[in-house]
C-alpha cells in the first residue's frame, strides 16, 4: 500500500510516518501542500491512500480534494482527511466533495490503523 502524506507541518508528517511505519507500512511519500501533492500524483506516482490535511498554504486540502475528485484517473485513490477541523459542517463538506473518510487531529495510532482497514 502506497501512502501519500499531505501536511504543511513537518512535525505532523513525521508523527504520521512513525505511526504508519509501526503498522508495517513503509511505502510513504510526502507533500507539503496541495500543490506539491498534485504534482506528485500528476508525475504518475501510483498512490493508494492520501492522508490529507486541510489547513495548508499554497493549496489547501479542500482545493486538492476537489481537483482530484474531478479527475476519473484517481477514482481508486482513497482520500482520508486528517485535520484539526472537526465541526459537523466541515466534515460534511469534505465527504460531499469526495473524501472517503475523516480523522480529527489529535488522533491515536489505533484510529489510524482502523481507518486504513489494516
Amino acid at each position: 500500500m502506497r501512502i501519500l502524506l499531505v501536511d504543511d507541518s513537518s512535525t505532523m508528517r513525521r508523527i504520521q510516518k512513525n505511526q504508519l511505519t509501526a503498522l508495517g507500512l513503509k511505502d510513504i511519500i510526502e507533500a507539503e501542500d496541495g500543490k506539491q501533492a498534485q504534482e506528485k500524483l500528476k508525475a504518475g506516482m501510483p498512490v493508494d491512500v492520501v492522508l490529507l490535511d486541510w489547513n495548508m498554504p499554497e493549496m489547501d486540502g479542500m482545493a486538492f480534494l476537489k481537483i482530484v475528485r474531478a479527475d476519473a484517473t484517481y477514482n481508486d485513490v482513497k482520500i482520508i482527511m486528517c485535520t484539526s477541523e472537526s465541526e459537523k459542517a466541515k466534515v460534511l463538506e469534505c465527504l460531499k466533495a469526495g473524501a472517503n473518510d475523516y480523522m480529527v487531529k489529535p488522533f491515536t495510532p489505533e484510529s489510524l490503523q482502523k481507518k486504513l482497514g489494516i
Partner: protein, 155 residues
C-alpha cells in the same frame, strides 16, 4: 469577554497534550491579562475569524517547548530552530481547531482559523487586535508550566 469562550480552550489543551504526548496538564485559575504580559520564550499564535474574532496563544518556556517537540517527533530536539517552531505551530493548530469546534455552536457560526505563527525570544510580546481584552489560563505539568491566552470578541 465571555468566560464561556474560555472553557473550550481549556478542554482542548488538556485533550491535545494527553493524546499527542501523553502528558497531563492542569489548568489554574483564569485571569485577565494585558497584552504581552504572560509570555514565556516560545509562543504559538493562531487567529480566529467569523462571529468570534481574535487570537489564541500557547506560550512555553524554552526547555518545555523542546521537550514537547522531542516527544512529538520521538527524537531529541536540543535547539530552537525550524523543527521546534513547526512542532509548536502544529500543536497550537490542533488546540485551536478542536476548541473552535466547541466554540462554533456557542456563537452559531462555523469559525475559521489562520495558519499558525510562532514567535521565539525572551520577553517577546504577542500582539493581538488592539483593545481586545485577553484571558490567560496558567497550566502546570510535570515538565513545566505554560500559559494559554485567549483574546476574543464576538459579533
Amino acid at each position: 469577554m465571555d468566560v464561556a469562550y474560555v472553557n473550550p480552550f481549556i478542554q482542548s489543551t488538556i485533550n491535545t497534550f494527553k493524546t499527542m504526548i501523553d502528558l497531563d496538564v492542569k489548568p489554574g485559575k483564569p485571569a485577565l491579562s494585558r497584552e504581552g504580559e504572560h509570555t514565556y520564550d516560545v509562543s504559538g499564535i493562531i487567529g480566529l475569524s467569523g462571529k468570534a474574532q481574535g487570537s489564541i496563544a500557547l506560550s512555553f518556556p524554552k526547555s518545555m517547548a523542546l521537550k514537547i517537540v522531542s516527544k512529538m517527533l520521538e527524537q531529541q530536539v536540543k535547539v530552537i530552530g525550524p523543527e521546534l517552531t513547526d512542532g509548536i505551530g502544529e500543536l497550537t493548530n490542533i488546540v485551536a481547531g478542536s476548541a473552535k469546534a466547541e466554540l462554533s455552536p456557542i456563537v452559531k457560526d462555523t469559525l475559521s482559523i489562520s495558519l499558525p505563527n510562532v514567535v521565539v525570544g525572551k520577553n517577546h510580546s504577542v500582539t493581538r487586535p488592539s483593545g481586545l481584552p485577553g484571558i490567560v489560563v496558567p497550566f502546570s505539568s510535570s515538565i513545566g508550566d505554560f500559559a494559554v491566552e485567549i483574546a476574543l470578541k464576538t459579533g
